[in-house]
Amino acid sequence: MSSEEKEKLFTEIFKVNKERIFRLCYTSLNNKDEVDDLFQEVMTNVWRSLESFRNEAKISTWIYRITVNSALLFNKRFKTKSGRFQNLDHHELDEMYEGSQFEKNLDEDLKNLHKAIAKLGKQDRIIIGLFLDDTSYEEISEIVGISPNYVGVKINRIKTALANTMGGKE
């Protein structure tokens, strides 16, 4: 692939997928100050993986796998930032959300949903992020590496946990 082709393909992927990549980055992290860093990390990994892109069947699966795996390893590179591994309590989470520019633009329902998601484990945050972005169970199973049935089981459990946190019914 020539440099020009690579840049063109990258720009196209960026344009089409930047919003869902951003949403997944945002959902996977508890420290929202690091979203830009993770997004950048994902884009770097996309750039480095472009050569193999033609062999991949579905672009969304390809992009999501890179995003999810970058999010899984993201802790490693930015390990020195304080508080990354601590469990935040409700008050701390609320404070964090008040300061986020992205969060300020959201309506109350989405803010509450984000707060409830932030209380889940990382892997569950990623799975529900994919689900909310309308990714099918089959595709989530290809991204995560578990069976579609088990994806369904996990999503039901997550929905119940979210409903409990948000104080309503599923």
Binding site: E7, F10, T11, F14, K18, E19, R20, F22, R23, Y26, V35, D36, D37, F39, Q40, M43, T44, N45, W47, S49, E56, W62, R65, I66, V68, N69, S70, L72, L73, N75, K76, K79, R84, F85, S100, Q101, F102, K104, N105, L106, D109, L110, L113, G121, K122, Q123, F131, L132, D133, D134, E142, I143, V144, G145, I146, S147, Y150, K159, M166, G168
Partner: protein, 203 residues
């Protein structure tokens, strides 16, 4: 909880906020040059490190075999050191390359397996290979001292061997300890998190 389809619909309308650090509007030529620079960064760092090692080995060989009259002892010592450093360095580079080439396009479960395997290889490298390299270094330096100090009284020679060995052992001990502490600080939290995730993903 609000109807899930409504939430999904609202969820998908969320866009990156303007004013954040990253330029979500467009990819500029500056972004491309940063990406290209980053792509070659690890390669460049390893080329510089390897060049440094080659220069150090060359100077060492020169000083041992060309600046002084050649002896069988020193030839053996030089061979041990060169083989030791080369093997140690090649393994280090292989690990670096493996880490840089982790396949982020795999499904998460396979990716987690690869990362955990990579962590355990790195741990093994610091625990085992570092020590093997230390023993080789200790042996060869002692052989060189054995050869160079022949004119000194026995007690003085023993003193030099003991002192030099003690210094080397201390350097290797604290070197391994420092690297292991850094490894633990950098990798163990993510390693534990990945192990937990892997367990959670088991059906």
């Amino acid at each position: 909880m609000k109807e899930i389809e409504v939430l999904k619909n609202n969820w998908q309308k969320q866009k990156p906020a303007a004013g954040d650090k990253f330029n979500y509007e467009e990819i500029t030529s500056a972004s491309f040059s940063r990406l290209k620079k980053f792509e070659k960064r690890i390669l460049k760092i390893n080329i510089v490190k390897t060049a440094g090692i080659i220069i150090a080995i060359t100077l060492f060989i020169w000083s041992m075999l060309f600046e002084l009259p050649v002896s069988a002892f020193r030839i053996i010592a030089v061979i041990i050191i060169v083989i030791g450093i080369s093997m140690f360095w090649l393994k280090y580079l292989r690990l670096q390359l493996k880490t840089a080439k982790l396949n982020v396009r795999e499904n998460s479960l396979d990716f987690i397996d690869d990362v955990l395997k990579n962590f355990s290889e790195q741990r093994e490298f610091f625990r085992k290979d570092f020590k093997v390299f230390g023993v080789l270094l200790l042996t060869s330096i002692n052989i060189i001292y054995l050869d160079l100090l022949t004119d000194l009284p026995v007690l003085e020679r023993i003193g030099f061997h003991v002192l030099m060995s003690a210094v080397l052992i201390a350097v290797i001990f604290f070197g391994v300890k420092f690297r292991m502490r850094r490894f633990k600080k950098e990798n163990e939290p993510i390693e534990n998190e990945l192990i937990k995730m892997k367990e959670d993903l088991k059906e």
